[in-house]
């Protein structure tokens, strides 16, 4: 008899395909049971939560969907809605430029927008180390360029201000071999002297030769979200170096420097920001000689910078304190002087530890810039609460305006916070 393969006992040559798990142990049903209805109280809580979400959406979605985007006044909105629930977003379409730019002359919106776009070009190489380092040159130029674009006036003022910085840098380079600290002081002093005594006369001289200028815009005309941005960015940029200096000063062995730093930090931290803003806006006018016009935005930037720097200093001091003593000793043992070891060993590590608190301060600083509405500067909230809501046409339209303002702040604050998390991951060398 010939045995054909068919007559052999059954031998499986391949594994069975896996069966789908029972519906109760996988898939959406399992997920629901595991996460939402694992027990009776859990199930009840889930139902309550679903109900709350549902009633929230039922209230909010028609409000957005029915929104009126084209109307001349709140009464017009109500007529168009005819009793239905809906937002009166027409106020946003009509007053959008005012929310963004305040009373900035409308023919120059392009200048302000350009400055805003260039800001990101300037920030990019600071934020992402992959980008070509040559872009840092633009970052260095940006403050002067942005000033010229936003405030206008003669181009020679920002150019000369830049020259002052260059002069300070040259002085620093010449003296850097002798003492890092002394060179910095000398450099700053040289820049200051140049700005105070030479910028004015040189500006008039150069303007007489070649008069390149944009239309001048007064500080009082700058407002809206733009001023929150100007105040936030410039105060932050100035507060970080000042905060580092204060943090180091507070740890110094030199009694005078230490005392100055401690008194400054404790004084500023003990005073509410709003008090400093009042001093900037009202009281300074009494102390300055009559007729002197010290720009209000500049006064406010200085006050916010001082305020943020004090907090920044404490955040960085936390970073410095977290470093093991061995790091300082390592620096000393290979023959680095104080400034070298700070620059090369201590600060890079201390700043990395402080990133979350520094970002925290940056975010709260950005949002605190809305406090300037109390000293009658028309930032985005001042613009809403003052001129827009008091116009006969839009008196009574709150939610739409404040939601728009909240959305603007959220976009930027969330962006900053996401960036800081990216930075922490990138710098997490010790946990790799």
């Amino acid at each position: 008899m010939v045995h054909t393969p068919e007559q052999l006992a059954f031998v499986r040559t391949e594994t069975l395909p896996a069966q789908a798990p029972p519906a109760t142990a996988a898939g959406p049903v399992h997920w629901l049971r595991a996460n939402l209805f694992s027990s009776i109280p859990q199930g009840i809580m889930t139902l309550i939560a679903l109900y709350l979400i549902y009633s929230f959406l039922v209230a909010v979605i028609p409000w957005f969907a029915n929104g009126v985007w084209d109307a001349t006044s709140i009464r017009d909105c109500r007529e168009q809605l005819d009793g239905a629930r809906g937002g009166c977003f027409a106020v946003l379409s009509e007053r959008w430029p005012q929310l963004l730019f305040g009373n900035y002359p409308s023919e120059h919106y392009g200048r302000a927008t350009l400055a805003f776009v260039l800001l990101f070009v300037a920030l990019a190489p600071l934020l992402f180390s992959e980008l070509p380092r040559k872009m840092l040159w633009f970052t260095g130029l940006f403050p002067f360029l942005a000033y010229w674009l936003i405030w206008g006036g003669s181009i020679w003022v920002p150019v000369l201000a830049l020259l002052g910085v260059v002069l300070g840098f040259v002085v620093y380079q010449l003296l850097a071999d002798r003492s890092f600290f002394g060179a910095i002081i000398a450099g700053v002093a040289a820049s200051m002297l140049f700005w105070v005594y030479l910028v004015g006369p040189l500006d008039s001289a150069l303007s007489a030769i070649a008069n390149i200028s944009l239309d001048k815009v007064e500080s009082r005309e700058i407002g809206g979200f733009m001023i929150n941005f100007i105040l936030g960015i410039s105060s932050m940029a100035l507060a970080l170096p000042l905060g580092i200096a204060l943090a180091l000063g507070r740890q110094s062995d030199l009694p005078i420097i230490k005392t100055i730093c401690v008194v400054f930090i404790e004084f500023i931290r003990g005073v509410p920001l709003i008090t400093l803003l009042f001093v900037a806006s009202v009281m300074l006018a009494y102390f300055l000689p009559p007729g002197s016009n010290f720009d209000l935005i500049l006064r406010v930037i200085i006050m916010i910078t001082l305020f943020a720097a004090a907090y920044m200093a404490e955040a960085i001091r936390g970073g410095l304190a977290a470093l093991p003593r061995g790091q300082y000793e390592a620096g000393a043992s290979i023959g680095l002087d104080y400034w070298q070891s700070m620059r090369l060993i201590i600060l890079p590590q201390a700043l990395k530890i402080s990133i979350p608190s520094i970002v925290n301060i940056a975010l709260s600083l950005f949002k605190d810039t809305t406090l300037v509405s109390i000293i009658s500067m028309f930032d985005v909230l001042g613009m809403i609460g003052g001129p827009i809501l008091s116009s006969t046409a839009w008196f009574g339209v709150y939610w739409e305006l404040y939601i728009a303002a909240a959305a603007m702040f959220f976009v930027f604050c969330y962006g900053i916070s996401q960036y800081s998390q990216y930075l922490e991951r990138k710098l997490a060398t010790d946990r790799r």
Binding site: A285, P290, I374, S376, G385, G386, P387, S390, S391, F395
Partner: protein, 338 residues
């Protein structure tokens, strides 16, 4: 404590500023612009249109003064100031005049060294409550929570009124009229109190105005008017008589429509003196002869300004009431131009 220190500083600085800035009119002329302090936003009295131009009943006073000085109502820099800093800003010399619905009181006039130059709106403090509360008189408000603006005379009036009537209340402090409206509608307070004009404007903006009543009691006198620093009477005269010119113009039936015709000369010597075709009133003020004509042309006479910004044809819908001419049973009474 902090307040009295601040007031002391203001008073001291006011003396200095008053002594230093003896010639505000010259300063203003030299600058080419009038610096006028206005509200940061009050419906009908000061607000911005979509182009960022300030307009309103208080703004019109600034424009009239600018027109009187320069012949150009646009020669004004508006400095919006909040309730809290308005007097400090005026005393520090940052602004030349304040036209910001400010109540004329003894202590502001005397202690804070300010000069009130007349009244452009006679107001009084009232109460608004939801109809469903069933309250018909302010005396029934015992234990109520009251929304009230800080740093204003209304705050003090309220305390006085409730003490006199021996009833208690709980204040909910707020800073702006729009915030007040929000808080009141959200039910954070049972009662909203402010000047009756403000109440009318707030109520007019409600979706259902009939759900709210303004109680009959007016508990205070609130004469609102423009003011300047103490110690510069020449400048004070310019502002005072610019305002008077607007009021007198209504009494004399001078309107923005017929002013060009009347300015050429009329049979009425008072009109002629006011509009400069007779006499030397402008010269006495240190201004041009057509100063009053320019001031009136800026936004029309007092009645026209009233109708344009807050009158019965506007959504705010205020009646003239006390603010009618004395000939119509109101309180407006401009001294003679002679």
């Amino acid at each position: 404590m902090k307040n009295s220190l601040l007031l002391g500083a203001v008073a001291a600085a006011g003396l200095v500023a008053g002594a230093a800035g003896a010639g505000t009119l010259e300063d203003v002329k030299e600058r080419g612009k009038l610096n006028c302090g206005i509200s940061t936003g009050l419906v009908g009295f000061a607000s911005q249109d979509a182009n960022g131009e300030w307009q309103g009943f208080d703004v019109a006073v600034c424009q009239a003064v600018a027109a009187a000085v320069f012949g150009d109502p646009k020669a004004v820099e508006f400095t919006p100031v909040t309730n809290k800093v308005r007097f400090e800003v005026l005393n520090s010399g940052e602004i030349d005049m304040l036209s910001r619905n400010t109540t004329w009181t003894f202590s502001r006039d005397v202690d804070l060294k300010l000069d009130f130059l007349g009244v452009n709106y006679y107001d009084g403090q009232g109460f608004m409550v939801p109809t469903e509360l069933g309250v018909s008189s302010a005396k029934e408000l015992d234990g109520a929570t009251v929304c009230i603006q800080q740093g204003t005379t209304t705050e003090l009036n309220l305390a006085d009124y409730f003490r006199v009537n021996n009833i208690s209340y709980e204040p909910v402090p707020i800073t702006t009229a729009s915030e007040a409206q929000q808080q009141y509608l959200a039910g954070a307070c049972d009662v909203y109190t402010t000047d009756a004009s403000g109440l009318a404007a707030t109520r007019a903006a409600f979706e259902d105005p009939s759900a709210h009543v303004i109680l009959p009691e007016i508990i205070s006198k609130e004469p609102l008017g423009p003011l300047v620093r103490h110690g510069d009477d020449e400048w004070g005269d310019v502002v005072r008589w610019s305002l008077n010119a607007l009021i007198a113009a209504e009494e004399l039936d001078i309107t923005s429509a017929n002013i060009d015709e009347l300015a050429a000369g009329t049979d009425n010597p008072e009109i002629n003196r006011l509009l400069g075709s007779e006499g030397t009133l402008g010269e006495m003020l240190g201004l041009s002869a057509d100063w009053a004509a320019s001031a009136i042309k800026a936004n029309g006479n007092y009645g026209e300004i009233f109708e344009k910004y807050i009158g019965e044809t506007t959504p705010i819908g205020l009646a003239r009431g006390l603010n009618a001419q004395w000939t119509d049973g109101g309180l407006l009474y401009a001294p003679p131009f002679r």
